[in-house]
Symmetry: C2
């Protein structure tokens, strides 16, 4: 069958595949100085945000991504106090970060303020922590922000970016990781979304190499299901400055006093297990 | 965008979503007494088999499903000798089962012989074990085959079926599980594909209940990524007759002398970890 215009479709041209949502209504569309943003109401996934034709998030399944981008890195760190989210304009990662009572300051450095303003309107539950006194919303260039950051001033950096093309291209290379390494305190940890194990294994390998070349001592990839991203299987890659992010505060994770839908201490361990075809990546 | 006729699309109407493949050519199409089978050559996934409009398998990602339907149940069993695959006409599960040197007899009971004949032609690598002297290919009704099976004659039953509608509907209820329980030896284990954790949590819960009601002592669900099935995240549910399929021969799995692309002993353990929203299912 062919899909009519009541569907929104994202195609993955290199992989000859596409994922589509049945649409109830287009709620919003605009071109910002950075990108083209669309918001839809869907039949099966609640609200949907699309940037430059790529699905960013839906109400139904964003919990997977946001939890796995924040809790593993924060429980891997011995005591994260100052955390930076680069990108993440929908504020879902920021919300998860602020669930950690030990975090004293959480910066969200998003280049496109419109993403956040639209999230506040259409995904208010993701923005429920924006008024937390520990939240710092800054709209500007995250690469520059990191260059300007005091050396050794951050405990964790979370790169919650779009794909490595367009505005996010500079978030996947050694020069950027070098700035992250410099800005982290000793024992600091960086994590970046690292695309699909099935579709983008070469990218994941190149991220590990670039992170090591930038000075990180240990790098690890974790994976999780993510229905609305290419292949339905997604990953994040962690890099430790003097620490191995395979280790984490397991007892603290078990005793966490906040709710999650996907993350648990056991999921944390399970997510770090590499399938046979990826064994040997990281270490 | 809308997708033109160079794409094959499967829609998931209840979930308002669809997955599509860019097609190079339709290689075959026929209506058998049981179902409508199509074979395509795709741009990104190699060959694709579709039954009644539902994606069955592709060259690119079938390893995930076939490995996870066979190795966990066989390493969970203490010494599986006689194994039955119900459905599984593409022979991919049979091939994985026969990688276990201890298996003496592996039955594949597929209702539609045409599925196997087409697999032999278009997916020959999945059929590479069909000539193994331990392989028994039987074409007929698996439900009846199980009813007729000698009580206590099987070590493992693998329900490698289509969705619980049409020919496979009878493979998801208590009456069927009761026949499985009867046909299994003590310590025998049943595993059935159990759809998507994200889309079909209620079905998974009902399978656990039906398996317990049929006499199984312990039931467990494992999950794995599966790009081309609805939501990209799939599951299998195990039921043990006098044993808990959470336990497995971990050392044997570590020392296995056959290749896999996804399965490892650590993946086995990781796959059995339930995400927060499914905790409490199984036990």
């Amino acid at each position: 069958m062919t899909l009519d215009t009541t569907w929104f479709t994202e195609t993955y041209p290199k992989d000859g595949a596409a994922f589509s949502f049945k649409i109830k209504a287009k709620l919003h569309e605009e071109r910002t100085p950075y990108q083209h943003i669309e918001i839809y109401d869907t039949e099966g996934f609640g609200k949907l945000m699309v940037i430059d034709g790529c699905v960013m998030l839906t109400d139904r399944d964003n919990f997977l991504y946001h939890e796995m981008m924040s809790h593993p890195v924060l429980f891997a760190h011995r005591a994260p106090k100052k955390v930076m989210v680069i990108g993440g304009g929908d504020c879902g990662t920021l919300r998860e970060v602020l669930k950690h009572p030990g975090v004293e300051e959480a910066w969200q450095v998003e280049i496109d303020e419109r993403v956040t303003r639209l999230a506040e309107k259409y995904f208010p539950e993701l923005c429920s922590a924006n008024d937390d006194p520990r939240a710092r919303l800054y709209f500007g260039d995250g690469i520059q922000w990191l260059k300007d950051a005091d050396p050794g001033s951050l405990d964790a950096i979370i790169v919650d970016s779009t794909d490595p093309v367009g505005p996010a291209e500079g978030l996947f290379n050694e020069a950027f990781y070098r700035n992250c390494h410099r800005a982290l305190r000793p024992d600091g940890i960086l994590v970046g979304q690292s695309e699909s194990p099935l579709f983008h294994k070469a990218l994941i390998e190149s991220m590990h190499q670039a992170m090591r070349a930038a000075g990180f001592d240990h790098t690890r990839t974790l994976s999780f299901p993510q229905c609305v991203y290419p292949s339905g299987w997604w990953s994040a890659t962690l890099a430790g400055k003097g620490v191995d992010p395979l280790q984490f505060r397991e007892q603290d994770a078990r005793k966490k006093e906040f709710d999650t839908l996907y993350y648990t201490a056991d999921i944390h361990k399970a997510a770090l297990v590499m399938p046979a075809f990826m064994e040997g990546i990281g270490g």
